[in-house]
């Protein structure tokens, strides 16, 4: 493979972060090579399924309308479950009838979406090299100067390497940008694609054609582990999945497939899936450690974006949009570096500044303490949904008992399961983690 100054930048990984970086650079005239280990971008990539329009349109302002989306999300629900009940919270809206502005949120399947997205970078001039695993970074005198691929004679050098190889990034470790991650800092998520006719989905979720719903499921279904389940509507399938911290899987010895079966057979979930055929079973790691588990985001000749940089806001189920925004900022940083003819950490630190000024690092800093709460108090996800469910059940049961007596019963039952000082402490911990 070539050497010298053929390329301005090497991007490793054709997911949302890597493609956004490659697209931004290529459009500005930089010579970019984009490595992807799958034969076709998307074939190795998995997510729950919700993506956000704004960050996509920022990267692909002229072509986002052509993106292969599944359904525009108009109905977002949260369920707090016990084994046979759910307290439900939802928000539904009527979106723009046309595509004059990008929809806020939409569902995707990553195989078609990522293939399309990578083709945008190719159209802009980036050289896509699929079917190629990048096995290492080449470091000389503390400076990243290229990558080592699995191909024969597979070293390639360039002034910049953008690491976007996804969760549990091997290259971030090899570049010396991070300590090893801990099993409390990563979740494992499994999901299934369940095929159903479009009309059946629209009937079951009360949707107009083309519109979609999302349900995040908390509570008993994670069986004491920190995590949650989800049901997302695609055109002719549902994405149904569930995840929890790897540490909690290790300790509980619950298998991921049993956990998923538990969600699918929950009495409130099962009717939504009835008659559906499982097309695919998938698994993926999701970064959960937040800002405290982030690697250094830049160095001499190197930038890190997306899941490789732990850029996931799990509470708001955002990740691909953070990756797209960060990829764009990495691209903009590279454009400056090219203009200045300086690819040292001093110039590349602009990337950190851009991220700090944006929602990406502001949001991740806001929830800095949340991973601690999730790790140490997964029981909160069992206790409070159950108490809430009991309280509502009591108030809704018309049995001749006065409402004031019912309030007393609820309070007695709550305090029997959780003393008042623990409730106070939970509230303070929760506030500190979320404020």
């Amino acid at each position: 493979m070539g050497s010298g100054d053929e390329f301005d930048a090497i991007v490793v990984g054709a997911g949302p972060g890597g493609v956004s970086a490659a697209l931004t650079m290529a459009r500005a005239g930089l010579n970019v090579v984009l490595f992807e280990r799958a034969e076709r971008p998307g074939q190795k990539n998995v997510m729950g399924g919700v993506m956000y329009g704004r960050m996509l349109a920022d990267v692909a302002p002229d072509t986002w309308r052509d993106a292969p989306i599944e359904r525009v999300v108009v109905d977002e629900r949260v369920w707090l479950t016990t084994p046979d009940t759910a307290v439900s919270l939802g928000y539904k809206h009527v979106p723009h009838a046309d595509f004059s502005a990008p929809p806020n949120a939409f569902t995707v399947l990553r195989v078609p979406f990522d293939a399309w997205f990578a083709s945008q970078a190719e159209t802009a001039g980036a050289l896509l090299v699929p079917g190629t695993t990048v096995e290492d970074v080449i470091v000389e005198q503390g400076r990243v100067v290229g990558v080592r691929t699995g191909r024969a004679d597979g070293d390639l050098r360039a002034p910049l390497v953008v690491i976007a190889d996804g969760a549990n990034s091997l290259l971030v470790q090899r570049a010396g940008l991070s300590r090893p991650l801990e099993p409390r800092e990563m979740a494992l998520v499994v999901k299934e694609i369940v095929a159903l006719p479009a009309g059946t989905i629209e009937d079951r979720f009360n949707l107009e054609p083309g519109r979609g719903a999302t349900v995040e499921v908390y509570g008993s279904i994670t069986r004491g582990m920190a995590g949650y389940g989800f049901i997302y509507t695609n055109k002719e399938s549902l994405s149904v999945g569930i995840g929890a911290l790897i540490l909690h899987f290790m300790k509980t010895r619950i298998t991921p497939w049993d956990l998923l079966e538990g969600l699918k057979t929950h009495p409130l979930v099962a009717p939504l899936l009835r008659g559906g055929e499982v097309l695919e079973y998938l698994a993926h790691a999701i970064p959960e450690g937040g800002v405290r588990a982030m690697p250094r985001l830049y160095g001499d000749g190197v930038l890190v974006v997306g899941d490789a940089a732990m850029m996931v806001n799990n509470l708001h189920r955002e990740g691909s949009n953070l990756a797209m925004a960060a990829g764009r900022m990495a691209g903009e940083t590279a454009i400056r570096a090219k203009r200045a003819g300086d690819w040292s950490a001093r110039t590349l630190s602009v990337y950190q500044d851009l991220l700090e000024a944006s929602f990406v690092l502001k949001d991740l800093r806001k929830y800095e303490r949340l991973p601690d709460l999730a790790e140490h108090h997964p029981d909160l996800l069992q206790i409070y949904p159950a108490l809430l469910s009991e309280a509502i059940h009591e108030m809704l049961t018309v049995d001749g008992v006065s409402k004031r007596e019912k309030q007393r019963r609820i309070l007695r039952r709550v305090l029997a399961q959780r003393p008042w000082w623990r409730i106070l402490k939970d509230a303070v911990d929760g506030w500190r983690a979320l404020r």
Binding site: K44, D114, L181, V278, L282
Partner: protein, 94 residues
């Protein structure tokens, strides 16, 4: 739905060589059995790891490349590398 049926929905391009190695077999036998009871045999979503009474048997052809075993082995005893370019899992939907 059993795990075997779930895995039956998947497509791989199988490599002849494994991308997964157990670094020190004695760690699984001497330490993990007593201390952790081989968590890789339960958290791996593709059922790649099985305890045969003496050692962990690795069905690397089942691997869906989630990378959980990199962190989930309490002894960092699983050497997992991405499969060679073009090999391994090929999602059809994603």
């Amino acid at each position: 739905m059993k795990i075997e049926e779930k895995l039956y929905t998947l497509h791989w391009k199988h490599d002849k060589q494994s991308h997964i190695k157990i670094v020190r077999a004695n760690v699984c036998l001497d330490r993990c059995g007593g201390e952790w009871r081989h968590p890789c045999t339960t958290f791996c979503p593709a059922n790649v790891y099985e305890w045969d009474g003496e050692k962990i048997a690795v069905s690397y052809e089942n691997c869906v490349e989630c990378t959980s075993c990199l962190l989930g082995c309490p002894y960092r005893n699983i050497d997992w590398k991405p499969p060679r370019g073009g090999f391994g899992i090929e999602w059809q939907h994603g």
